[in-house]
């Protein structure tokens, strides 16, 4: 199976104000490489400040990489070429309530990426929006609603619809499941798994709930202060953690796993 997304040695360093002639850097992310295939999920776990979100920003192109290369289907992605990138790599954020523009209806919200990236006419666009809403479990009537008329779970569905409307190949979930209520979270997990089956999406799941990570992902990367601590198949890593940090992370959630 060929790799869908191939990342080699990307890293990110932020420049600090230099003192005299000395240049100072903060290394937010040390060089990291991984591959993802279609239908697969890669989980990235770590504490705050471990470089999880930096990695996500580098992949979608919100930040420029310091070193390294990102290849999608064998083609390398160029800095600043957003047209190519945003069609194939999409992102869902943690707080869906604040990432939707409150002054636009759902139709206008979903129309925006279509207008900018495709040359469909209006009728085709409306048809596509209707299909996408149906795919994420919403109704066509919801097109004329404003974001505040939805509940939290439905808002998360709208942002998922916005992510998949351009038929991407990679979707990045940046803590997208963390803040949801448990019953809505399991609905969302089911929906994401179904979409993965149907569309062959590859997910990059960023989060810290190891129960969800275990259930959802095939591969895992454990980050600690910008460095890759452990990398491998999820079940292998979680069952036989080698590094001290991974063990600590699993121990801290052991209280939540039920050992009664």
């Amino acid at each position: 199976m060929t790799d869908l997304l191939e990342v080699t040695n990307i890293s990110k360093a932020y420049k600090l104000p230099s003192r005299w002639f000395k240049k100072r850097y903060i290394h937010a992310l040390e060089p990291i490489s991984f591959q993802i295939q279609a239908h697969k999920t890669l989980a990235i776990v770590g504490e705050t400040g471990s470089g999880k979100s930096t990695l996500a920003k580098l992949l979608v192109g919100a930040e420029t990489t310091t070193t390294g290369e990102i290849k999608l289907n064998g083609q390398s992605l160029h800095q600043g070429n957003f047209k190519q990138r945003c069609q194939h790599i999409r992102m869902i954020f943690q707080d869906s309530g604040t990432t939707l523009n409150p002054s636009l209806t759902i139709q206008q919200l979903l129309d925006e990426p279509l207008c900018l990236n495709t040359d469909l006419n209006e009728e085709e666009r409306v048809q596509l929006i209707r299909e996408t809403l149906h795919k994420v479990g919403l109704l066509a009537e919801h097109m004329n609603f404003y974001p505040h008329m939805f509940s939290g779970g439905q808002k998360q569905r709208v942002s998922l619809a916005r992510a998949i409307i351009l038929k991407p190949q990679v979707v990045i979930l940046d803590e997208a499941l963390g803040a949801l209520d448990p019953s809505l979270r399991s609905q969302m997990i089911n929906l994401l798994l179904d979409l993965q089956q149907q569309m062959g999406l590859a997910y990059i799941l960023i989060g810290h709930n190891l129960g969800i990570v275990r259930h959802f992902s095939d591969d895992i990367i454990v980050l600690c202060q910008g460095q890759v601590v452990e990398q491998g198949k999820t079940l292998n890593v979680l069952n036989k953690p080698k590094h001290k940090y991974t063990k600590k992370l699993i121990m801290s959630q052991q209280y939540q796993l039920i050992h009664r």
Partner: protein, 329 residues
């Protein structure tokens, strides 16, 4: 002895048209030295219930209860001032997002000294100032902050979230409360920090015999730390019992669904398989279903569910459902 005994508490939101029943006949008892979990999804009225216990709801809300006893005193009969003096002495509350709750313009030291009880000091004012400072340091030591010099001088934004939550707990401890209400103390916190805060609360419970009402939206997070759990859904009482009862043999379809939907509690199911889940979403306050509010989402709902079920007690395990799962175990 029961510290807090609340029976059939209802909270109404007074609007221009018809009052909305936000919390519908919820019962809650807390014994001395007990850790009780209060679990419910967002909009289930658990924070409202906590605020009603503290008595900090304003005129828009109308609180009514069959029984509202605090250590044998009927709080409903007392005047607002008497009630306030009792509650403020014996009950303390900590909130979620500790960073947002602390005053960003004052140092931790100033805020802590403000919270310290004045009554316990004696002597002239310069002596009192000294004592107050010592007490603040003492409080920080109690919550496990050893580096008090640095901490007292810093502003909230200079500390990590877990440290801020510890400071909040320190403030709550200032009056030596009998009951601590923790309203989602670890929401949006890293799992390692969550463990720290829960361990601190557990040690306070064991060493000082302080009761804790632990409010959370996630059942799986609190099960390790609680003795008893009360589950709420959309403002209605669902189920109450010991943690073991709730977790091993839930009688209510909603609790069953909550446990089944959690991937953490079901390690044995194959990865990437579909999770059990309830259809639909939580109803909004303006459009509440009649009778049992779980009705439209419930897998066991039948015609009788349009009438609110009464809470039934099975050996300390209370459940409020017409078709409970009791027979199926």
């Amino acid at each position: 002895m029961n510290l807090l005994d609340v029976r059939n508490l209802s909270i109404e939101l007074l609007t221009n048209n018809k009052p909305i029943l936000a919390v519908d006949k919820v019962s809650l008892t807390i014994k001395e030295g007990e850790v009780r979990g209060l679990v419910g999804e967002s909009g289930s009225g658990k924070s409202l219930l906590a605020q009603a216990i503290m008595g900090v709801l304003d005129e828009k809300w109308h609180v009514d209860a069959d029984r509202f006893h605090w250590r044998g005193n009927d709080l409903m009969r007392l005047s607002a001032e008497e009630r306030k003096s009792i509650i403020s002495n014996d009950v303390a509350m900590i909130f979620q997002e500790p960073m947002a709750c602390l005053d960003p313009t004052a140092t931790i030291g100033e805020q802590l000294e403000e919270a310290v009880d004045q009554q316990q000091f004696e002597g002239f004012f310069w002596k009192k100032r000294q004592q107050r400072k010592l007490e603040a340091i003492n409080l920080l030591h109690k919550v496990g902050i050893k580096n008090h010099i640095q901490c007292l001088k810093s502003y909230p934004h200079q500390l990590t979230e877990a440290l801020c939550q510890r400071v909040m707990i320190a403030m709550a401890l200032a009056k030596k409360p009998l009951l601590l209400i923790a309203d989602e103390p670890t929401a949006a916190m890293e799992s390692t920090n969550q463990g720290q805060i829960f361990r601190l609360l557990a040690s306070l419970n064991q060493l000082k015999n302080m009761s804790i009402l632990l409010i959370s939206h996630d059942l799986e997070n609190v099960t390790h730390w609680t003795n008893t759990i009360t589950v709420m859904y959309s403002g209605q009482f669902v189920e109450a019992g010991t943690t073991d009862q709730i977790f091993k043999q839930p009688f209510h379809p909603y609790t069953r669904a909550l446990i089944d939907s959690s991937p953490t509690a079901n390690i044995h199911i194959p990865t990437k398989s579909r999770l059990m889940t309830l259809p639909g979403s939580i109803p909004v306050l303006q459009h509440l279903p009649i009778g049992c509010r779980l009705g439209p989402r419930c897998p066991r709902a039948q015609r009788e569910c349009v009438n609110s079920p009464k809470a039934k007690n099975h050996q300390g395990h209370q459940v409020s459902c017409h078709f409970s799962l009791k027979g199926s175990y």
